[in-house]
């Protein structure tokens, strides 16, 4: 082993984009880490992504600019991509491959952690049941976030997804035995603009949580290859904090679309057979290897809750990235341009939004007994509003029946009073539900077909 570690290879066969090829390699492991030193002595890290006979393909993190086939030294490290982790990572900032960029020096720890992780055994999982109050009515009331859930935000370019994420970070409240001390945030920026990253840093500072945040930042002008590692570093850190330090970790990732594009770029460099829109056939498994790392484990206090943010190219929800994400995650929060243009913040379109885990985490014993039926009724009524609006477009609002006019009124009130709230407004779960009842009074009573009459009597004012 030791002998092999020292062996350096001095000749590359090919450099193309972020991939380099070498041959006559003696012993190499799949997924192994590689160090490349160029003529000036600059070091780059790479990873073995294919072994073919004595040929090896290495994916380089960082730019391959200036690399030539003659002047590079390559050494194989004999181990997978690992990062050191300790509780001291809290409050720190790293680049996409886990190197500190805040000038705070290296992290030291006894153990190194493989960034790829390993799948949680379904038998060991604890089914998530406790909700996280975000203080945002449309989420708490209709798309309730559960601790240990993976709930993405589907957004579009120019929509306020960052503000929404920041608001969630600031307001998120969990009920836990040890108070707020065991709550931390891991933030992974994947190909984001500098000002976006700055916005998050400022938000964390203002909210006074910067000591509880670990940041992995890959800027839009950073090497693309690092985008593939950045979310894995973040999730490895989250797993460490959750399962070894008993923290409730909220992981925020933005923007998964940049991640998918990086993956496509590598795939095309490798000349793989593309599937939909040029994305590789393994896009689903690859995204799943990120998202499925959210969860809870039996007998462990901590949890990993994941909020990936993605911008849908052309606001198209059937684009492969939102589409495959929706198949893996436990619901989605969908932002709508139409609402945003109407001045609704947060512009959450509740109809295509969904929280799959809320059914087991709301109602009596969790939030309030009326919650399940109220949310059901709001969904059903608001969906009816859409039909009636379509009708009003044709026949004109004047000619609608009285019942339909009431629905129109309800629809407007729902958007302006329930969904709309300011960036600094933090609504309690009870406030949200009371507000919902208040809106439902706008509808004729016989239309409330999802509500138990007993609840109507108790809560309708």
């Amino acid at each position: 082993m030791g002998d092999r570690m020292k062996r350096e290879y001095l000749k590359l066969d090919r450099v193309q984009g972020a991939l380099i090829e070498l041959s006559k390699i003696h012993s190499v492991g799949y997924g192994e880490i590689v160090e490349i030193t160029n003529a000036k002595g600059d070091k780059k890290v790479g990873r073995v992504i294919k072994i073919d006979g004595d040929k090896v393909v290495v994916q380089v993190f960082g730019a391959t600019m200036g690399m030539s086939v003659e002047n590079s030294k390559v050494s194989f490290k004999g181990k997978p991509f690992e990062i050191p982790l300790s509780k001291k990572v809290l409050g720190r900032m790293f680049n996409g491959i886990g190197q500190p960029v805040d000038g705070g020096g290296d992290v030291y720890s006894e153990d190194l952690y493989n960034v790829n992780g390993r799948p949680i055994n379904p038998v060991s999982r604890e089914y998530p049941r406790n909700y996280i109050q975000t203080g945002i009515s449309s989420i708490d009331g209709l798309i309730t976030l559960i601790r240990g859930q993976k709930l993405p935000v589907f957004s579009g370019a120019g929509l306020p997804h960052n503000e929404l994420a920041a608001q969630i970070v600031r307001q998120a409240k969990i009920q836990s035995k040890e108070g707020d001390n065991n709550f931390s945030i891991v933030f992974a920026a994947i190909g984001v603009k500098h000002d976006e990253a700055f916005f998050f840093q400022e938000t964390f500072k203002k909210a006074g949580v910067q000591d509880k945040v670990v940041m992995y930042i890959n800027y839009a002008d950073d090497p693309i290859m690092e985008r593939i590692i950045a979310p894995r570093c973040a999730l490895t850190t989250a797993e460490y904090l959750a399962y070894e330090e008993n923290q409730h970790v909220l992981v925020i990732m933005t923007d998964i679309t940049s991640y998918g594009e990086a993956l496509r770029e590598v795939s095309s460099l490798r000349e793989e057979v593309p599937s939909r829109r040029g994305y590789p056939g393994y896009l689903y498994s690859d995204l799943a290897s990120l998202y499925e790392r959210a969860g809870m484990i039996k007998g462990v206090e901590g949890s990993v809750t994941l909020i990936p943010i993605l911008t849908m190219p052309n606001d198209d929800i059937t684009h492969p990235i939102p589409d495959l994400t929706g198949y893996i995650t436990e619901g989605q929060v969908v932002l709508a341009r139409e609402l945003y243009q109407k001045g609704v913040y947060p512009p959450i379109n509740v109809l295509p939004s969904l929280s799959r885990l809320m059914k087991d985490g709301i109602g009596e014993g969790f939030t309030r007994e009326d919650h399940p039926e109220v949310s059901n009724q709001l969904f059903s009524a608001y969906s009816k509003v859409q039909e009636i609006r379509a009708l009003a477009q044709i026949v004109g609002e004047e000619d609608l029946s009285d019942k339909d006019k009431k629905y129109m009124k309800f629809g407007d009130a729902f958007e302006k009073r329930f969904v709309t709230q300011s960036f600094n407004e933090n609504r309690d779960m009870n406030d949200t539900l009371d507000l919902a009842w208040d809106l439902l009074t706008l509808l004729p009573k016989e239309e409330l077909d999802r509500l138990n009459p007993k609840l109507i009597e108790k809560y309708m004012k």
Partner: protein
């Protein structure tokens, strides 16, 4: 060569196609999928990170097989039948690679009762012993396929593990065969049957939209396609919980880990209405969650169907739920891509349709080798990319299944569950199981089914007109159709999986409910024809009463529907006499 889950090995002339092998120092489990001269291609069922060039590939001499015997029910396995509970005990909460080949528990002792004696002549597939595996299911021990002859030795009844030789059989050539409590069977090979029988029995699911409108037959095939969030998994869970199969094999193929955990938590608590036992006692779970190795996803479907066939051979009606077959097809695509095969549509390999056909054709209602009747029903979820039903997996699946239950995004958005779209769904079994309904309900349901479906079709046509000109201009008889269609949708098609009565509804009540709705329509139509305005015909209270019957009338008080019918009749009698004056 090492490329993800695909490995190319050298000096492999002695290896056989589809043979199981062990790769590297961690002994990762793999299967030979191609041989080219001296080179063999292996698909590896575990994470390949860290494998080095030059590590050895060890032959096992046999194809990827399952151990079939007591110990499967109530347990959860990975895609190649390794018990996840045992993996947790040995390796902790995360699944490492290099676990080795473990299968059903070999230490547990089972109480065996032998059913043959020395001197008996036994044939392949015959029962020679039995074990009460769970209070619900008797596990019959079968003479292995290919063994036939005279029993020359038997073990006493008693407690043994699955490796115990229970019976020795001497065949016609004088060879002695040991019959153990378990047998091995290669996953990719269909288990033989005596003959296939015609399909003529309904798989009762307690779900109204299925049992009445789009029935699934025992031994049949069904596909449930739907975009994300339309409730595929929810529907599959409902079927696994309530359908009247003896055994359920649930394959979570490339789906969420939490969903499998939910099944593990829920099923032991749910009580089967027929036997009053927890339904977990009749369930086998197979889990390859979306982050588990992709090659094992390809195998998980075969593991599930082989287990289902084995229980069928004991004379049971088995239903297998595969959630989702699209992930399996994607696993095929991924491996095909790594093999650099020529792709057909959307990157899927050209053999996708034939693989799908091979899978669905393993369903059927049969006479088993032991002479019993048994069946395997396959219900596959399909996750079409972008919710578009014209993509290759949905399209090809459609060709090989007889029931198509299209889940609809619009319905799901308005929280109409199950979101089965009555406009594009169909069942090819309605005719085949006609006699079954007649026997079970003493009634022909075809008439009422068609009349009610036609109302729904009329409604959708009328709604298009309404969108253009508004509802008020429609004549009253057409407005009545809209009103009654709403009752069918909310009061009948929507079913609440979380309501204690509504989650499972007996067949008899389903029919009576529909008859009540038809009465409401017929009496309304009669009144409209007499010139009574729709505003009076559509009595809010009466309609609400009918819509709420699913909650207000419990499953064991079906008679109460009669008083609802009386109420309808009295209302319209009153209305008509008021107007005739």
């Amino acid at each position: 060569m090492i490329n993800g889950p695909v490995i190319l090995g050298k000096n492999m002339t002695g290896f056989k196609m589809r043979e199981m092998v062990m790769v590297g120092k961690n002994k990762l489990i793999g299967e030979i999928i191609a041989i080219d001269g001296d080179y063999g291609t292996v698909q590896v069922y575990e994470e390949t990170e860290g494998i080095r060039r030059g590590e050895s590939i060890i032959s096992t001499g046999k194809p990827l097989s399952l151990k079939l015997g007591p110990g499967m029910l109530g347990n959860m396995f990975d895609g190649i039948q390794r018990p996840l509970k045992k993996i947790k005990e040995d390796h902790g909460s995360f699944i490492p690679e290099g676990i080795g080949l473990i299968s059903i528990d070999e230490e547990q002792l089972w109480d065996v009762e032998l059913l043959v004696k020395v001197g008996d002549y036994v044939k392949s597939g015959q029962f020679f012993g039995k074990v009460e595996e769970t209070p619900l299911i008797t596990h019959r021990i079968l003479v292995p396929i290919g063994v036939e002859g005279e029993v020359v030795w038997i073990k006493e009844d008693g407690k043994y593990n699955i490796n115990e030789v229970l019976v020795k059989v001497k065949d016609i050539k004088g060879n002695i065969h040991d019959c153990l409590m378990h047998q091995e069977w290669p996953v990719r090979v269909q288990r033989p049957v005596w003959e296939r029988l015609p399909i003529d029995k309904l798989l009762i699911t307690g779900q109204r939209v299925l049992d009445i409108f789009f029935p699934i037959a025992k031994g049949g095939t069904a596909a449930i396609p739907g975009g994300f969030g339309t409730g595929k998994t929810m529907t599959q869970h409902q079927l696994a919980k309530w359908s009247d199969a003896d055994i359920i094999v649930y394959v979570g193929c490339g789906e969420r880990g939490n969903e499998m955990t939910e099944v593990l938590e829920d099923f032991p608590k749910l009580i089967d209405p027929k036997s009053n036992r927890p339904i977990m006692e009749r369930t086998v779970l197979i889990a390859n969650t979306s982050n588990m190795p992709v090659a094992a996803r390809e195998a998980s479907i075969y593991t599930g169907i082989t287990m289902a066939e084995y229980f069928r051979d004991m004379g049971y009606n088995v239903a297998i739920m595969a959630d989702s077959t699209s992930r399996w097809a994607e696993a095929l695509r991924e491996i095909s891509g790594r093999l650099e095969e020529m792709p057909a549509e959307e990157g899927y390999p050209a053999y996708l349709p034939s693989r799908l056909a091979q899978f669905y054709e393993r369903a059927g209602y049969v006479k088993t080798l032991s002479g019993e009747e048994g069946s395997v029903t396959i219900i596959g979820a399909v996750s079409p990319a972008g919710g578009d039903f014209s993509e290759p997996v949905t399209e090809n699946t459609k060709r090989f299944v007889n029931v198509f239950l299209g889940l609809d995004r619009e319905l799901a958005y308005s929280r109409h569950y199950p979101a089965i779209n009555w406009m594009n769904s169909y069942s090819g079994y309605s005719d085949m199981i006609k006699k079954f309904y007649e026997k079970e309900l003493n009634e022909d349901i075809e008439g009422i089914r068609n009349r009610m479906l036609n109302l729904l079709f009329d409604e959708s046509r009328l709604l298009e007109i309404v969108l253009l000109v508004g509802e008020d201009v429609l004549p009253d008889d057409q407005r009545l159709i809209l009103e009654v269609a709403r009752v069918i949708k909310i009061g009948f098609l929507q079913q609440n999986a979380f309501h204690k009565d509504d989650t499972y509804v007996p067949l008899k009540k389903q029919l009576e409910m529909l008859k009540t709705i038809e009465l409401l329509y017929n009496r309304g139509l009669q009144a409209v024809k007499k010139g009574i305005p729709i505003s009076r015909v559509r009595n809010t209270e009466l309609y609400e009463e009918v819509i709420k019957m699913k909650y207000t009338i419990a499953n064991d008080e079906i008679d109460k529907l009669q008083s609802l019918n009386t109420m309808i009749n009295e209302f319209y009698n009153g209305l008509e006499s008021e107007y005739s004056e």
